[in-house]
Symmetry: C2
Subunit: 403 residues, 2 copies
């Protein structure tokens, strides 16, 4: 394993060159040996600045660029994309191209990247390579915030590979140390006016585990005055009315739902189910085994739960929703697509779910998201408990068009 350090050459606005020393690693998976994976942490950058970077390879090189985010500010606009369960099919390509047309500045990726584990032997490693090349057209130019899904676990004892997330951890580092996390699998970042928390559905998360301890502290560190938009990413949805993976989120819900409500998380994005679904603001935290009250109820403090696991992977769509549609479910459809969250300022964000349908970007579920922190501050005690209504979507579509 070659541990020689690599150099990343940086050019800033073609006026200044920054040199940073990185690291290089490679790994094996079954009989596959990866190429050299270089990792370079570049600091001392300016906010809101375009940087070019070159990857040298002997006499040739490839040049890319990225734009650093604006300084942390509660009113700063910023546009996120949300993609999940992408894979590497023609549908995946359609999703990716539609996403790139959206003008969004960073991707919140909710897990299940390459689907390499659907292959065998050396093809597992090879399919990670092909996926890296596939998403490069976007991921080389803007950050993708990675979450690990079940397809990253790659627990394959018959092939002698039993360490979870081996390929993923070697290829897709995350800035976990900056948020005092002991694992790349759970971490937080702040970007523009958002505080984004990434959780790991397939790491231990019950009380007393490192992830639980970390989240408890991280939620206290959130400053809604600086970053009013509190967004959580996870792979397994907590609310899901599809037959696929039904109730798999109950384990995590039992542990964290109260915190999400208490801290008034704005929105939780998940993947895992290959369809789209959005919930109302609901919670189910009254259950105490001996009593009743085990049904989700409208809760203004609760997040909106959105499943965007419809990136396009080879497993296809999860077309069987449970009927009737539960009261807590606002919108659901089994179509490929991606979402965008366009933060306008500290109080409003425009949300769209964009279907790939017919080769054109079609906006299907769209509404204005009001910031939970500022909504409470400014509306005080006049908020009444909204009833869950079917066809609530009609109202929010009207609402969105009146914005």
């Amino acid at each position: 394993m070659n541990q020689a350090p690599a150099k990343c050459n940086m050019v800033c606005q073609r006026t200044m060159i920054l040199l940073r020393r990185g690291t290089v690693r490679n790994y094996t998976f079954y009989n596959y040996t990866s190429g050299y994976i270089h990792q370079c942490l570049v600091d001392g950058l300016e906010y809101d600045t375009k940087y070019y970077y070159k990857i040298d390879s002997g006499d040739s090189y490839r040049e890319f660029w990225f734009q650093t985010p604006p300084k942390i500010n509660p009113d700063i606009p910023y546009k996120f994309g949300i993609i999940g369960d992408l894979g590497q099919t023609y549908n995946s390509l359609s999703t990716l191209e539609h996403y790139m047309q959206s003008g969004a500045q960073a991707v919140l990726f909710v897990g299940d990247l390459a689907y390499a584990d659907r292959y065998m032997y050396n093809d597992v490693g090879i399919r990670w390579d092909t996926w890296g090349r596939f998403v490069e057209r976007s991921a080389a130019y803007q950050p993708w915030m990675w979450s690990a899904g079940n397809h990253e676990i790659e627990y394959m004892p018959d092939m002698g590979e039993v360490i979870p997330f081996k390929s993923y951890l070697n290829r897709y580092p995350t800035p976990h140390l900056a948020s005092k996390s002991s694992s790349p699998l759970w971490y937080a970042i702040r970007r523009a006016s958002a505080h984004i928390i990434v959780l790991s559905s397939y790491s231990p998360f019950v009380k007393y585990t490192p992830q639980w301890e970390w989240l408890r502290k991280e939620l206290k560190r959130v400053d809604r005055e600086k970053t009013p938009w509190l967004i959580v990413l996870m792979h397994v949805p907590i609310y899901n009315s599809n037959e696929a993976h039904f109730m798999e989120g109950e384990s995590m819900r039992a542990v964290f739902e109260e915190w999400f409500v208490h801290y008034k998380v704005d929105v939780i994005f998940a993947g895992h189910v290959h369809a789209y679904e959005r919930s109302y603001r609901i919670s189910n935290i009254h259950y105490n085994v001996s009593g009743g009250d085990c049904y989700p109820v409208a809760d203004k403090s609760a997040p909106v739960y959105i499943t965007v696991g419809d990136g396009g992977n080879q497993e296809g769509l999860a077309e069987r929703f449970r009927d009737p549609q539960p009261d807590y479910s606002a919108f659901r459809e089994a179509s490929y697509g991606h979402s965008t969250l366009e933060i306008k300022n500290k109080t409003h964000a425009l949300y769209h779910w964009n279907r790939n349908d017919d080769g054109k970007k079609v906006s299907t579920d769209a509404f204005v998201l009001h910031n939970q922190h500022w909504l409470y501050l400014h509306r005080g005690s006049n908020l009444r408990r909204r009833k869950l209504k079917k066809h609530h979507l009609r109202r929010v579509v009207d609402w969105a068009s009146s914005f």
Copy 2:
């Protein structure tokens, strides 16, 4: 770290000497460096035979012995002890001494060993050493089946230690490879007429994780014709009506309860709550988010759930139970003690919870456990759904005395 192999000298019935080569390791925790920890796998032993073994140390040695179990057989009697959350206080000593008077042949330990993590800095490592010496009076002579509890996690970022279970994994190996597990934290053993499955509450366990995949296969490997007694150990109780740790078991219940019922597990032992509690045979597997049915109901196929986290550790007893006592809870008391499960044959086992009370071994909760597999085979469809009754204990005590 000294990796030199060590030798364990074995003497079998003073007529034959077996030599086996072991391994030695040590580890650090903060500024503490452990002594040399030797591990020796001895195979080729006879069933039901007493073996002596010596630990050499220069010119001196210490001699111990153990009895191998009888050959696997559905009707073979065997007596297990169940201890949890032991620690190293005077109450712990009382529990241990009472246990040793019981004549039980192996300990099912349900987690939380040394409570070393309640100390700081180098005392963490030192308290593991003292605990090892403390339990040696039993653990050197009979097997203790280890489960990991939250006090084994030792996630202590302020001390630079963030790898869960570091001390525990270095000191207390388990035979996980023999049951095709990829981790020492979950495994299974067969002993006499019992198949014992050990789960890890603080490792990932949701669908698609290695522990989940392993348990799914292991339950299929259980052969009730050979080992009719199916026992599961975990640290966090799935049913618990104490205020302490209330509903912490919900996450695992959501994942595994259906399997426990489907495979007709005989009994599940847990610790974590520093008190004693036994449930009726109940299940709560009907819940589907949108419907009702979220209350535990009597279920003949379900295990008995027993919490024995009352070994005596320094945190004291969990004295606040929730009132009123729920219907699913058959017996509960906040007293130090241990339990024994004395398997008589393939159909009956005598169960006792023994309180340390007043320095004498006092048997408080006791009943006959009927084997779930043979009960179904022999009673056929005449079984009626038993109602949950309070004071059910009186009936089982009468029942036990009529055995």
